[in-house]
Symmetry: C2
Subunit: 253 residues, 2 copies
Amino acid sequence: MGWLHAGHRSLIQRARGENETTIATIFVNPRQFNEAADYQRYPRNEARDLEICEEEGVDLVFVPSVEEVYPPGFDTTVSVGDVARPLEGAARPGHFDGVATVVAILFDLIGAERAYFGQKDAQQVMVIRRMALDLAIPTEVIACPTVREPDGLALSSRNVHLSLPERAAAPVLRRALLAARARWEAGERSGDALRDAMRETLGGEPLATPAYVSVADGGSLAELDRVPDGGPVLLSLAVRFGPTRLIDNEPLP
Amino acid sequence: MGWLHAGHRSLIQRARGENETTIATIFVNPRQFNEAADYQRYPRNEARDLEICEEEGVDLVFVPSVEEVYPPGFDTTVSVGDVARPLEGAARPGHFDGVATVVAILFDLIGAERAYFGQKDAQQVMVIRRMALDLAIPTEVIACPTVREPDGLALSSRNVHLSLPERAAAPVLRRALLAARARWEAGERSGDALRDAMRETLGGEPLATPAYVSVADGGSLAELDRVPDGGPVLLSLAVRFGPTRLIDNEPLP
């Protein structure tokens, strides 16, 4: 969606290392914004984005107009079921329909062998992987590690909206996740206890308004009463700072 | 969906005439049956279908299992909006979601340049064309003329379910469409009058239970109060004979 940062650079670098040709798509997709105001204020800077793509050696940048992605009379929706329902899906009605639909279109248009997404949007990666597998789109979905500021804040195009005090407070997302992870490493297996660990950390930051904290099965994203020792688990949260909503997550092995 | 008849043969012949390689897919798609009983009783004869494909010179027949089309954990739906809502969409909840989803999968799997469908399922063709255009699937959707028995009954795999008296009565669908068409050719432009013409003809056949009669815009499928002189119009109907439901249509130029 543009407003490229070091997280996107890491995706491009990974793609270039594993493929002969690297294509970047830049498209602020109106269909995945559940609030019109959020779409309007999403940051855009095409000239700078193209410079970054050039610097990183992208072979082709696809910057379609809204009309090019959604032809006249467009009226098709791609929906993913269970894995799209909780967390961001519950908080942002229609968001993942918009994501699944535009990514199906972009995958069909581009015909890439591999597509690289940031693990920061963990649920998005799961929704896209499910969609591509189910619709037999032969593009492999690859999740890449979240890139962070030195203080732990996950890079996000939305960070630009933070005021200075909000920016100073925003690493609380990471601290909350690490607090829960530390409790888990110390042997805690109660989902509620781990969620409480996140809530307590967030509660210490007056500028942060938690939207959700989650301890979920890493495959289904169903909330867990108890963390099993075997399977993957995803700790995740969403927090508002004024009008700006940030998310982050931490997978447990 | 198999149980191949002369209508399917005509699709294969058209495809062979326009392409180097012709692939047929045979798959009775459980997701497009809104009634489980209808799925169970849908006629199947793979051996005969393969013989017909051989006779017609099909290069490759793809006969996947349900598990091959819908991998474990399958959870994605492709939905088309307005054009999928009336007529068959209203009568058969979920039907066109099932059609759009399986055809998106088959198009992505096969990668054909052109796909051939019977005009008998006029709304289906419109839904599939919209879906393929919207999702940027580069398969051209081509509608082929309905093939009919000498008495006018449109070929359909479901015709096999008709009892002898029902089979004798079934051409009433075609007669009803032609009655409305004749009224239109005589200058009638009232949608209700044309629908009445179909209902009157159907009313003369005791074994026929009409489900709907429609005089609709040929682009949007919205019901018409008055038939415009310019654009395309679709006359269509659905009629039950006992447990068997038949459809047919007649486009007005």
